[in-house]
């Protein structure tokens, strides 16, 4: 989405207000409601999306008038200060920037400004990355893929993701970059830094003809965004490799079906085709992995997930959840290290990829 298009979307919000004032009406805007009652699971899209409920934010409402003024200020700031430039700001920066808007408009706390950014995202149906308000850069990507983007100076440049020693970091520019060349036939997303590093050192990207993505725990929006884009644009499958516990499985699920919190933009973030590779509950026994007992919070999480619409229709995942309950144990990815450095690349992953019908296996 170009800056110009975003600019137009934002301008429209201002026009709604101007129009009402012209007609001598109390100015207000409609915002898709982000309350839990309006977050629904879309069976077709296989992710959470916002329902049709809208709330009105009116200048005639004592509880709304300040937030409406602030929202217009944020929109105006994005349009006039960020669009058409190479500048990006973080949510935290935005909160501090508001200090310069005067005592009336400045935000009291950051959650108030974060909230307004989400309102604008919902109104224009675009993630804040498009507004040039950045997510955290936490993930990184490694493999034979060439990306083209503008660097902070505004110069166009192309980078191969193998050129960077630790992989290309996934920030606001990377996640929306043009994918000009990709010779891999699959994406392998990995939960932990340790395993990501192991696979790089063991040449997994070459052996499996894969792009490696380091999630670093729960994937950021930017990471989810680039996984989605590679999947869609290059039409290659995605496999997610996590710890063997309900938390690891859910890291995979958020990539697959999105989170409730980002329901208003999940369509742009979720990768419904992506598959969870493991480490599965069954693997704990099959590979005789060193394991720990599931704690009470872990079991509670298992229970929650069993009732989550993203899981209920997937028999394989429900069985895995039940298996954890049965075993009462969990394991980490690194537990595979008991068989040596090469085992994960030579034995474990090939077996798993074959099981899932990955290309080349």
């Amino acid at each position: 989405m170009s800056d110009e298009e975003i600019s137009n979307e934002l301008t429209e919000i201002g026009e709604i207000i101007i129009q009402k004032v012209r007609e001598n009406e109390v100015p207000s805007v409609q915002i898709p409601s982000r309350t839990t009652s309006n977050i629904v699971y879309d069976e077709n899209l296989e992710c959470y999306v916002l329902g049709g409920k809208r709330t009105e934010r009116s200048a005639g409402n004592i509880r709304h008038v300040k937030r409406l003024a602030q929202m217009l200020k944020v929109a105006s700031f994005c349009k006039n200060e960020l669009m058409g430039t190479e500048r990006h700001v973080t949510k935290r920066e935005l909160y501090y920037i508001s200090e310069s808007w005067g005592d009336k408009l400045k935000f009291k706390t950051q959650d108030r400004s974060d909230d307004l950014v989400e309102d604008i995202e919902a109104m224009i149906g675009k993630p804040r990355e498009d507004l040039k308000i950045n997510p955290k850069a936490k993930g990184s990507i490694y493999g034979d893929m060439t990306l083209k983007f503008k660097n902070p100076k505004g110069e166009t440049m192309a980078v191969n993701c193998l050129d960077s020693a630790d992989g290309q970091s996934i920030g606001p520019r990377t996640c929306e970059a043009d994918i000009i060349e990709c010779n891999a036939d699959k994406v392998l997303a990995i939960e932990t830094d340790g395993m990501y590093n192991r696979l790089m050192e063991e040449n997994a990207h070459e052996k499996f003809n894969a792009i490696l993505v380091n999630l670093g725990g729960q994937a950021t929006r930017a990471t989810r965004r680039i996984i989605k884009r590679i999947n869609e644009i290059k039409d290659i499958p995605t496999y997610i490799f996590t710890d063997s516990d309900p938390w690891g499985l859910h890291i995979a699920m958020v990539i697959i079906a999105g989170s409730a919190k980002s329901a208003h933009i999940n369509e742009r973030l979720a990768t419904p085709d992506a598959q969870w590779l493991g480490v599965t509950a069954s693997d704990i026994a099959d590979y005789k992995l060193r394991s720990d007992e599931l704690r009470e919070v872990d079991l509670k999480r298992v229970d929650e997930l069993k009732n989550d619409p993203r899981y209920t229709k997937n028999d394989r995942l429900v069985q895995e959840l039940e298996k954890w309950e049965e075993l009462g144990r969990k394991s980490e990815q690194q537990a595979l290290m008991r068989y040596g450095f090469e085992y994960v690349v030579d034995e474990y992953l090939p077996a798993k990829l074959k099981e899932l019908g990955a290309p080349g296996f």
Binding site: G14, A59, V65
Partner: protein, 527 residues
């Protein structure tokens, strides 16, 4: 060794003079410590002066001066513009304990027993050995007399040391000058506070005061008219005790029980008198002296059962609502003042009446988080000590102040807030818990009346606070719209790059005036 015989013991028994008794029990009269003693001396002098002025129909004008003589000695000079005292009575009034006109009267006055001022003289004598100097002149045409006197504590008689006539233009009235051992303190328990409270309850009095630090206070009049003078009355039948009734029956000059009832009690007429006799099964024509003990008891019980009018109010000198409001307003710069005056009631045959007032906010605002200030009065005299045992405090603590907008942790006890609560009880006989007259006994009837009075005033306070809140809310609402509606348009214009010619004023005015949008929607209120 054999014990004493009754005869021997009888030799040890001797009459103790009243003066001697109080010499040994000075705490009973409010002289327990030097700080309190100083206040008590001023208090007794002020009581007497105000009573005298009012009785004479003169607007009181008091001049009080306290000099620090060093070594914890203070010279107190108190001058009034009252009727003065005739020469023959001067020594007795100041030099004899239990001498007074008020003890046997059922009329409201500040002093009751005729102890106070002579006790001060005695206290001065005990602590500094200095005599009291009394000066008095009855009117412009009479001669000014001055006595220097002490009290002969064995015989309870004045001992005149010096006596003279003056010719130096002494303004009519009475002046007493005594030197006592004392301690001057400031804040709650102080002469300053005592006089301030006195000025509030007696806004028709002008009180000039110079404290030991040399600070001058001028509590001026807010009202230039004396309240009606209280009348002396006979006892009311409700609550009379058997002993009192018995004594009255023996002492009466009436020949028949019926006429006794009509003559010796207030509010009993022929019909109610007959009703009492019928209920008591006592012959109305019987001689009062001849009633047997059980007949007396039946008569007493019947008196309580028959419906009898409340006592007349003219025996009481209540502080009217108007007077309380004026008194509070002249000494406290409050944002709100209210007052309540109840109808008279009776406890144990004594009529009493409660009035109260509340001053809130204004200069008190800084005491927001402190307990409210309580000003207790009995017969227009401030009560500074023994607050916790007093009926007024008890009633105040039992009132649910949260309902009325004051903070009351635990829904019990003295409330907190920027308020002064004034409570006055007047009666022909105030049931003090001790002779030092510092707190009112907690008769349920008195506590109940005080509570009702407080609730009435508190309702006014609640109304005021809710009006204030509403006004504040309205103002805040207006401010939010005036702050942010122009910013809505301004930023929309900045965003759209259009509509620079528009103004939101008319829409804003409509929103503020008409409340166009329902204002209880989701989302927390943003300042």
């Amino acid at each position: 060794m054999p014990g004493k015989t009754a005869e021997e013991m009888a030799l040890d028994q001797k009459e103790i003079s009243v003066a001697e008794f109080f010499e040994k029990n000075r705490h009973l009269l409010g002289f327990d410590n030097p700080a309190k003693a100083l206040i008590t001396v001023v208090k007794e002098g002020v009581d007497n002066a105000l009573d005298a002025c009012e009785e004479a129909g003169k607007l009181p004008h008091l001049k009080i001066n306290i000099d620090d003589l060093g070594e914890n000695k203070y010279e107190i000079t108190l001058k009034d513009n009252g009727p003065g005292i005739v020469k023959e009575q001067m020594p007795s009034i100041f030099g004899k304990l239990l001498y007074g006109s008020k003890f046997h009267s059922r009329r409201q006055s500040r002093g009751q027993q005729g102890i106070g001022i002579s006790a001060s003289v005695l206290y001065a004598q005990l602590t500094t050995g200095r005599p009291a100097i009394i000066t008095s002149r009855t009117d412009e045409n009479s001669i000014t007399k001055r006595f220097k006197l002490k009290i002969d504590t064995i015989n309870n008689e004045p001992e005149i040391l010096h006596e003279e006539e003056l010719d130096d233009g002494f303004e009519p009235g009475t002046e007493i000058k005594i030197v006592v051992e004392g301690k001057y303190l400031q804040r709650y328990h102080s002469v300053d506070e005592y006089l301030k409270q006195t000025a509030i309850a007696n806004p028709y009095a002008h009180i000039e005061y110079s404290n030991p630090e040399g600070e001058n206070f001028d509590f001026r009049r807010a009202i230039h008219e004396l309240p009606p003078e209280p009348q002396e009355i006979k006892p009311h039948p409700y609550g009379v005790e058997l002993g009192v009734l018995s004594r009255m029956l023996k002492g009466t000059e009436s020949n028949k029980v019926l006429s006794f009832l009509q003559n010796e009690f207030t509010r009993i007429g022929r019909t109610s008198g007959e009703e009492i006799c019928r209920l008591a099964e006592v012959d109305p024509d019987k001689k009062p002296k001849n009633l047997k003990h059980n007949e007396q008891e039946r008569l007493l019980n019947a008196m309580q059962k028959v419906k009898i009018q409340r006592p007349p109010t003219n025996c009481l000198s209540p502080i009217s609502e108007e007077l309380i409001k004026n008194g509070l307003a002249k000494e406290i710069d409050a944002e709100f003042i209210t007052a309540t005056s109840r109808d008279p009631e009776v406890y144990r045959g004594n009529p009493f009446q409660v009035s109260c007032g509340i001053a809130y906010g204004g200069e008190l605002e800084e005491r927001e988080t402190e307990k409210v200030t309580i000003m207790r009065y009995a017969n227009k005299v401030p009560l500074l000590y023994q607050s916790s045992s007093c009926a007024i405090t008890k009633a105040l603590e039992k009132t649910d102040w949260k309902r009325y907008g004051l903070n009351q942790p635990g829904s019990n006890g003295i409330p907190k807030g920027p308020a002064v609560i004034f409570v006055h009880l007047c009666s022909t006989w105030v049931p003090f818990t001790s002779e030092s007259k510092e707190s009112i006994a907690r008769y349920p009837k008195i506590v109940k009346e005080v509570k009702l009075a407080l609730q009435e005033s508190a309702r006014d306070l609640r109304r005021h606070l809710s009006r204030k809140r509403k006004g504040k809310k309205e103002k805040r609402r207006k401010k939010i719209f005036s702050n942010y509606m122009p910013l809505v348009l301004e930023n929309a214009v900045e965003l759209a790059g259009d509509g620079q010619e528009l103004t939101i004023e008319p829409i804003m005015k409509r929103v503020i005036d008409e409340k166009l949008v329902e204002e209880v929607e989701e989302g927390d209120e943003d300042e």
